[in-house]
Amino acid sequence: MIRFDNVSKRYPGGHEALSNVSFHLPRGEMAYLTGHSGAGKSTLLKLIALIERPSRGNLVLDGVNLSSVSNRKIPYIRRNIGIIFQNHHLLYDRTVFDNVALPLIIAGYQHKEIGKRVRASLDQVGLLNKEKSAPITLSGGEQQRVGIARAIVHKPGLLLADEPTGNLDPELSKEIMQLFARFNDVGVTVLIASHDLKLIKEMGSPVVSLNKGLLSHNDLDLTNHG
């Protein structure tokens, strides 16, 4: 699903956020991306979501080489990715329902279908009774789950999460991680950046670690070879 092949990312000004990173996340797998802050986790996710472009190397997502994809094609590639942010990125001028419906509206779903899918998605994250609420009235954990509902509502093949539990207490964090594991059970490829090592150990999925832009640990290749 995701293949990094000697990928480097150097920002203007010379700072190299990633250096020669190579790994392969197969379709249907779930993996954690760890490392101290500044190790390059966010940069790596941004490269997959085409927010940034690699400076060197090849990055292939679902058979498409992202290094050479044109700007016009970016939206269509992003439609197969569900992205979850630490700070939710919800739109506070509209209801929970309208927030979750946005990806479907973009993709041009029919009105009836949108209602059905949004409710199914909210049901999965346990917020079915909040569809008419304003996001601002929800707790941090609930807002994060609205963000997750939005990321999965159009059934993307890949879920990316950047510190999804960053602001949550351990119990809520575990719930969220279990939610991701459930999506993975139905075939979604999941990559989660997190520095919560204790929780990651508990979840038991493969781990990829970054240290100062270099790959320092990679369970994925072991599973691949083994």
Binding site: A49, P75, I77, N80, I83, H89, D93, K155
Partner: protein
């Protein structure tokens, strides 16, 4: 991917989805505007006033041309012959003038005929009879070849006519009409200049409003880009907002113009009645009104298009 296939099934056909999206955005952008009625109204009012000004001037100019349009093609030179010129001499002169290249048509009103008509029309029959002698001269009426680009030709003809020894006076009555037309043409150009400047002002007003709108919705634009919204999708609500401003501004400008003309109408009618004229002010016709709205829509759309083009690409998710 099997999952993607099931996704496709639930989606509308691309064309239908496109239509649904447009309609949805059209209505949504109107909704957004009505949620901020005060600021939306102010923008529309500015557009309306900027357009009503040249539209009103255009209406007045049109009316002014209507007043004088009857005289446009009937430029006519009256040649009054000297009192002692006989009908025979007059006929000879007529034959001579007919050969001039600037003379289109020539005819004679001989004095007996003129007197008869004058008696009938004026009602002074008895008074004129008591004069004994016919006081009217023979008159030649000449329709000159009118070349709007060379008014000096008519002037030249007039000079030549006045030089004839049988001629008492040759006069072109319509000089003032020509002057009026010249003035109207200047006025028309002035209106175009003013309309262009105000049109640019409307573009800037719409552009600036949309620019602020884009800045206020920065977060929304970033999120939409992140979850796969195309540039066209993101651009659309702003373009429609500009279109709505245009429609609103055009309608309001039409209303303002009609109201202003209505205010003038009574006084103009009064003035016309003093001149024994049934002249009435004509407001914008339906077609002209629609043109005004179409022009306003174009300005709204174009203004927002410029703003969107300049500012939307600056916003990228980070």
């Amino acid at each position: 991917m099997a999952k993607a296939d099931s996704n496709q099934l639930a989606k509308s056909s691309p064309f239908k989805a496109w239509g649904i999206n447009h309609l949805r955005t059209l209505i949504a952008s109107l909704g957004v505007m009505t949620r901020q009625p005060a600021s939306s109204f102010m923008t529309i009012a500015v557009i309306a006033i900027a357009l009503a000004l040249p539209a009103g001037m255009f209406v007045l100019l049109n009316n002014a041309s209507n007043v004088s349009v009857g005289w446009d093609n009937s430029a006519q030179i009256s040649v009054f012959l000297k009192h002692d010129v006989t009908e025979n001499q007059a006929n000879k002169l007529m034959d001579k003038l007919r050969l001039y290249e600037d003379v289109n048509k020539i005819s004679m009103i001989n004095k007996q005929q003129a007197l008869k008509e004058f008696k009938k029309i004026s009602g002074f029959g008895n008074a004129i009879e008591s004069l004994g002698d016919n006081p009217l001269p023979h008159v030649l009426t000449i329709q000159p070849v009118v070349d709007a680009k060379r008014p000096d030709k008519i002037r030249h003809l007039l000079k030549q006519l006045n030089k004839q020894k049988q001629v008492e006076l040759a006069q072109l009555d319509l000089q003032w009409v020509k002057r009026l037309f010249a003035m109207l043409e200047i006025a028309q150009r002035a209106i175009w200049v003013i309309a262009s400047l105000l049109g640019i002002a409307v573009l800037l007003v719409v552009g600036n409003t949309i620019r602020l709108d884009i800045q206020n919705r920065r977060e929304e634009i970033e999120v939409t880009k992140l979850i796969g919204g195309t540039d066209a999708f993101i651009r659309r609500p702003f373009l429609y907002t500009g279109l709505w401003y245009g429609i609103g501004g055009g309608l309001f400008a039409w209303l303002l113009t009609s109201l202003s003309i209505g205010l003038l109408d009574n006084s103009v009618e009064h003035l016309a009645s003093l001149y024994n004229s049934g002249f009435q002010l004509k407001g914008l016709s339906f077609t002209e009104g629609l043109n005004l709205i179409a022009f306003s829509c174009f300005l709204g759309l174009f203004g927002s298009w410029i703003a969107v083009g300049r500012h939307l690409s600056e916003i990228e998710p980070s």
